[in-house]
Symmetry: C2
Subunit: 302 residues, 2 copies
Amino acid sequence: MRELIQAVENYLAICLTDLSMPPRLRAAMNYSLLAGGKRLRPVLCLLCAGASCPSAERDATLTYALPFACGLEMIHTYSLIHDDLPAMDDDDLRRGRPSNHKAFDEATAILAGDALVTDAFWFMARAGENIAPVRVLRALSVVAEAAGGRGMVGGQVLDIEYTGLGLAPVRHDAALLTKLQAMQALKTGALFRAACIGGGILGGANEESLAALGKYAEALGLAFQIVDDILDETQDTAILGKPAGSDAEKGKLTWPSLTSLDESRERAHLEAEKAAAALKALTGPDADTLRDLALRLVNRIR
Amino acid sequence: MRELIQAVENYLAICLTDLSMPPRLRAAMNYSLLAGGKRLRPVLCLLCAGASCPSAERDATLTYALPFACGLEMIHTYSLIHDDLPAMDDDDLRRGRPSNHKAFDEATAILAGDALVTDAFWFMARAGENIAPVRVLRALSVVAEAAGGRGMVGGQVLDIEYTGLGLAPVRHDAALLTKLQAMQALKTGALFRAACIGGGILGGANEESLAALGKYAEALGLAFQIVDDILDETQDTAILGKPAGSDAEKGKLTWPSLTSLDESRERAHLEAEKAAAALKALTGPDADTLRDLALRLVNRIR
């Protein structure tokens, strides 16, 4: 997995350098795109492509899918830049550094996000140079749907709506838990799912395998979000790169606030196991890594 | 051409209704998407598709290309919503109504724009259900490049940069005119060009015809922008839907301020004729309409 992360980092580091654009715009895009992070979405995409193609074609397929996978990271990065804006979550810090609109200015941050999401589709389409266009177009369509109004952006709208309502967290309130889960499924889960299914499509997975990858991604996304909520409450600023407990302070619904820390941990482990089990029909080293990734994710909160 | 505009209006009117998304988000997207406008980019795309395909396939091709063409209008609409934001041009009026962030709020306007640009690519990809995916993917890639950091978004960055510099317009200053032209070529011209070339690709144009469509679009885009600058200075609020002379007030470089009204008119007519001439090798009713469209565009300022 380390080689995949490195391949993604290498591609991201140079992908905007040979494109002519206003220097300030490029600087703002790279400021956030190259700020680190786990590169989870592109890595998931590549692993699912690798788990879906004939093993003899694995290395070539992953190389060909790299621009597509990195497009997912651009979409993720744009969403973080826009989420941090004063009109949204109004966060001054991201990954321990000033957020984009603090390092540059608000107009530049909005436009850096706009350019990242648009250029992401250009990079995704580039995979069509080496992978059958019919596959690339279908995978791109899955990502567009997951990132748009019925997916990630819709989730952010719900997040702002619920936060604005000032809903007091009531432990074990079924209606609030349903709201939280639906919001997170859109805001975070949809792009995880598209990364996995998109990778599967690029690798040539059949419909049955795509359904399995979808189930894997849904459980993984939920586990990821619960872990994120737990870490927000329990870790300190130095590790988080932002003030601890900032979700609760903003009046956001979280898993620990609607259940308890223990129950949240338990649910995260359960979802990770569900994710791993969803891939039982898939064999080979990339499928093993996907299963392993789900289990290691929740070990951060053990 | 009236039927094409009507087909675009019909598609736009219903395209978001069957998609499940938060009601407030959908309302904000439709508020701006259905606010009228000339629908120039989708119409150009359809006409170029029609001018490029065998005449027996013309009607079917235009029907199949409709989701792609309407994706262009979504991208145009998102750019208007974001351009109007307080951090950008800070415009309270658009087409005679409150701009999106005034009718809703800033967060919703940012997210409505984000959803429109992302969903645009989903609609563009949908054309692949009936048109060869290799064509759709190439056309989509042309649009993504034109709309992103090297195109429209880059143009908006330059616009803000130049406006912020407070450059005093000096008549016939060659350096300023070069800046203005480069900025407008990105901010407006790039998407015009992508609409025409994208339509040509969907219709099956050969490389020679695509080059002609590109030349047509570049001259048309320039003529369009000069006409826009002239109207901003000479028409009153009721017709413009925004205060007249607002470009000059904001310290924006414009064609009349860097040349004169007469010279601007002359240049617009020259570019419209250049656009029409670029299509001399193309025959048929859609090519006729494209030539006619260029000449009628500048007749608004006669």
